[in-house]
């Protein structure tokens, strides 16, 4: 039975708070990215026309196709150095790399998002993220839990704010 840590929040991890961890720039969003996202997430039903029918979308308040608000233009990065840096910090709290080792497992704890402007084909999205809070709790089955709260601000190529997300990550 691996030894349970008394805390995951080391000085090195705490030093990450408030630090811009990464700045990512998406490739230009393509109409087919939006269409495929909508089809995949509405499957097995047909997605709404606002996501794929330009003739229809032009007659809406949006004046054209928009991406679903949950759309992720950063999927399939060629490299991901910022996250790799955080993962290295988190891994440094873990002795060994077995899935049984406390701190080596992770889950998505949830999100809070404020939306400002929709994403459209041709948009290039910049994401700036930073760790904004750390908390710990004791889980019944999992032992010590580490909650990481990360803020992401997305802007488009015109400098307009697209959305601000605070995501909760859980490690145990």
């Amino acid at each position: 039975m691996p030894e349970q840590p008394t805390t995951y929040i080391t000085p090195e991890l705490r030093a990450e708070l408030g630090v811009e961890r990464e700045r990512r720039v998406s490739p230009p969003i393509a109409l087919s990215d939006i269409r495929k996202w909508a089809i995949a997430t509405y499957w097995p039903e047909r997605p709404p026309r606002i996501y794929w029918d330009d003739g229809y979308a032009r007659g809406t308040k949006w004046g054209g196709i928009i991406a679903p608000y949950d759309f992720n233009p950063f999927a399939w990065p060629v490299d991901d150095e910022g996250w790799a840096r955080l993962m290295e910090v988190l891994k440094s709290q873990v002795k060994g790399d077995s899935a049984d080792v406390p701190g080596s497992r992770g889950m998505n704890g949830g999100s809070r998002v404020r939306y400002h402007n929709p994403m459209r084909a041709g948009d290039v999205i910049t994401s700036v993220s930073k760790l904004v809070d750390l908390k710990e709790a004791l889980g019944k089955k999992t032992g010590l839990l580490l909650f990481t709260f990360t803020e992401n601000r997305w802007t488009n190529q015109k400098g307009e704010l697209v959305k601000v997300t605070v995501g909760t990550g859980i490690r145990y």
């Binding site: 997430t41 999927a75 399939w76 497992r105 998505n108 949830g110 998002v113 939306y115 089955k141």
Partner: protein, 150 residues
């Protein structure tokens, strides 16, 4: 009265507190999860393989939390139509989405308000499974057109 140049699906005035949104329902298995993994680059072993999920101390392969996030957005969008707008969503993942679960994204209006000229509706939102377990509680705010205001 100002005339809008587009069709309105839902007016702010027609929403009442306590009203429930039409549910968004999906039976989930690898067909949903693999499609989501393909667009969101989320090919993680415990979403694909029972043994990997059990090694992560879970009962079996399970779906992405982000897919429930998506289902809540689709529920809201289907309700408000293209004339409304999603302003804010918050969701916590408190339970797992296991293979063959029927997930139902639901919403219930908790209040209406006008803020800085915007006509807003606040909702409790959640995703429950076929056993009636709430696996993702949360809240949301949408903006709707108001008659005479646009």
């Amino acid at each position: 009265m100002a005339k809008l140049s587009y069709a309105v699906k839902l007016w702010w005035e027609d929403v009442r507190e306590g009203q429930e949104t039409p549910p968004f329902v999906r039976v989930t298995d690898l067909m949903n999860w693999n499609r989501y993994a393909a667009v969101n680059d989320e090919f993680i072993y415990f979403h694909m393989d029972d043994e990997a999920a059990k090694a992560a101390k879970q009962p079996g392969v399970f779906g992405m939390g982000n897919l429930r996030w998506t289902y809540v957005h689709h529920m809201l969008r289907d309700w408000i139509g293209d004339s409304g707008d999603i302003v804010e969503v918050e969701l916590r993942y408190t339970g797992l989405n296991l293979k063959n679960d029927t997930l139902t994204a639901k919403g219930k209006v908790t209040g209406k308000r006008v803020e800085n000229g915007e006509h807003l509706v606040d909702l409790e939102v959640w995703v429950e499974n076929q056993r009636g377990e709430n696996t993702a509680p949360g809240k949301a705010t949408v903006r709707l057109p108001a008659r005479g205001k646009g």
